[in-house]
Symmetry: C2
Subunit: 374 residues, 2 copies
């Protein structure tokens, strides 16, 4: 294995661990902010680091189209390009090809598609995806897979998953092993337990530095998502990090950590930060709502972030009404702090053997709902 | 006088001084970033302070419409609302009423207008403008005036100026004197030296804490602007700060300081920061230009700002092409640093008796033009 991974404590299925990469250590459970096109939207890297984030996710699809993987490599890699010296995980590009590009055509070899930016044609194969992620200098490379659409028949899910497993083996062959750099496989199989176990076994047979669970949080709902985790996680090696891709809402993260997941990424805190949704210990609020217009209180009285320390809801409401960039900056800062506080709290709880109590208190806080208007 | 003002050094007409306000000292010559609607666009207040800015300008017109002066007052004033604890100067609202609002109607009493946001009707009189600025808790209040359009006949300019002088006297009557808070008069008179001198004399007769030169940089060109300054500044008291409103380009500031102006404000560094124009010691560059797409060098090799320290032109070019908010954040940061470095350099030069050399070196650097492509 090229990535050192050590489980420091467990509490039931929940794990508190540390992953060592070429650009530093990552303490898990961890939330990775999404740095789509080489920037966590509306944030400086100093601001991202100040939230407590130890690792970012970069999007292969966006970066291969603009500015191009070879350009990023020539400029010293993604870390130097975007001035982030901590670890970076890149996705394979497969998910965005399916959700964003035009005229995509999937075959055994890979996927051909037209860029959503200018219509130019590209081809992404397992080998090219690994090469791009190498050019970007990703600490953690993800295998190219197909995120099976939901719902899918068992036959469709099986065919899609088995092709992804053949692609995973090709990615392993293409990956250049280096100390501190690793390659993660991705379990597919939709909501079918048998297929998930078959997928996990196929990946273990190839051998990866970590194992992701893909194809969830795409419409199946939290209950089914948790059931799939219950059926999948036990089939994954206890000695490797487990990553649930594209997830999720705070309650999803708390529940998935209790089922043995270590790593998460999601656009939710950043995207919400630009549309006016704030995450708090008492649930979500829409800062555009008129009830906040003259309310001097912070978003979340228990939050220690710079936004809650320096600004009231009235100011944030004003910034969003006036379409000021600072609104997105301040709310994204808060939301990312919220997510980092959540995973930091989970780490502490697991170390103390208090995961269950933490989860219960989290749920009770969310159920309270927002503070009453003044 | 309610604002302490001390001239520390002079070099020809250029002055190095210090202005003391209720929220701290301002070293002049000073550039005031524009915080239009209670935010310097695309900047945190920490980021603005880190550029070296000691005072911001707030816009009465924008804030009276949204969120409303009484709302800001209820929330503790503009400093607390926007989390900026240093001095704030507010304009009177008159300039934006003329340039932004619909269906404006000017009379001896004041100006009636429809909000550009929702069409609601407002009236701004000298008394109401001063009251609003009091509610905002501005350290420096500006008198309500009419920025005489350019070009104007001498008769039009005289009529407009004389009404502004009557309004200035009403503003003085309405202003509530407090230690650390001051009221500035505004000289009008278009490009007519006689009218400018008449206006200055009228203001001095009323008595203000500072004297602004308004109605410039609205199309008359730099040569005529400097001529008006040459005819106006000698008519202003040597013992009070002089403020040239809405100016300007770096070369305008250097030239005006040499003519005895102490204070400046302009949207240029912030607006340009959002559209891709960067200010450098070798002139202006458009970061969207393809020549920068693979250039790892900073915007300005001699700049110590966080943008130039951490990012290359290629990255900034990428951010602007990808329409990423961080592009505006980083370029605005650089541009504000550039303006603060410029005024800091002017202060040092005046103290050392080197204004003329500084101005010559500034002009020589600008004339060099941007570095050659790689």
């Amino acid at each position: 294995m090229s990535l050192a991974y050590e489980v420091l404590a467990t509490d039931g299925a929940a794990r508190r661990a540390r992953l060592e990469t070429a650009h530093g250590a990552v303490n898990t459970p961890v939330f990775m902010p999404v740095g789509t096109a080489g920037t966590v939207k509306a944030m400086t890297v100093e601001g991202v680091a100040a939230t407590g984030a130890e690792i970012l996710l970069g999007n292969t699809y966006h970066l291969m189209l603009r500015p191009g993987a070879e350009v990023v490599a020539k400029l010293g890699g993604l870390h130097r390009f975007m001035n982030w010296d901590k670890p970076i995980l890149t996705d394979s590009g497969g998910f965005q090809v399916m959700s964003l590009s035009d005229r995509r055509k999937i075959s055994e070899d890979g996927v051909e598609f037209a860029s959503h930016i200018d219509g130019n044609l590209f081809k992404l194969t397992p080998e090219r995806s690994v090469e791009i992620q190498h050019l970007l200098d990703a600490d953690i490379t993800m295998v190219l897979d197909e995120c099976t659409a939901w719902p899918a028949t068992e036959a469709e899910a099986a065919e899609s998953m088995r092709r992804s497993m053949r692609w995973a083996a090709r990615c392993k062959d293409a990956f250049i092993d280096r100390p501190g750099y690793g390659l993660f496989g991705i379990v597919q199989g939709s909501v079918h337990g048998e297929l998930r176990r078959e997928s996990a076994a196929a990946l273990i047979d190839v051998g990866f530095d970590g194992y992701a669970v893909g194809g969830l949080a795409i419409g199946e709902g939290q209950e089914m998502m948790f059931r799939v985790l219950d059926e999948t996680v036990p089939a994954l090696p206890a000695t490797c990090p487990r990553y649930m891709m594209g997830v999720g809402a705070p309650a999803d993260i708390v529940g998935a950590v209790g089922r043995g997941i270590d790593m998460f990424d999601c656009v939710m805190p950043t995207r919400s930060g630009r549309t006016g949704k704030g995450f708090t210990r008492r649930g979500e609020i829409n800062i555009r709502n008129a009830r906040h217009a003259e309310d001097p209180r912070p978003l979340d009285a228990d939050c220690k972030c710079p936004t809650c320390a320096g600004y009231g809801r009235a100011y944030l409401n004003h910034l969003f009404k006036a379409k000021e960039i600072l609104g997105a900056m301040l709310l994204t800062t808060h939301n990312l702090h919220y997510y980092q506080d959540l995973t930091s709290g989970l780490r502490d709880a697991i170390e103390a053997g208090n995961y269950a109590r933490f989860a219960a208190e989290f749920a009770a806080g969310q159920a309270l709902g927002d503070i009453d208007p003044l």
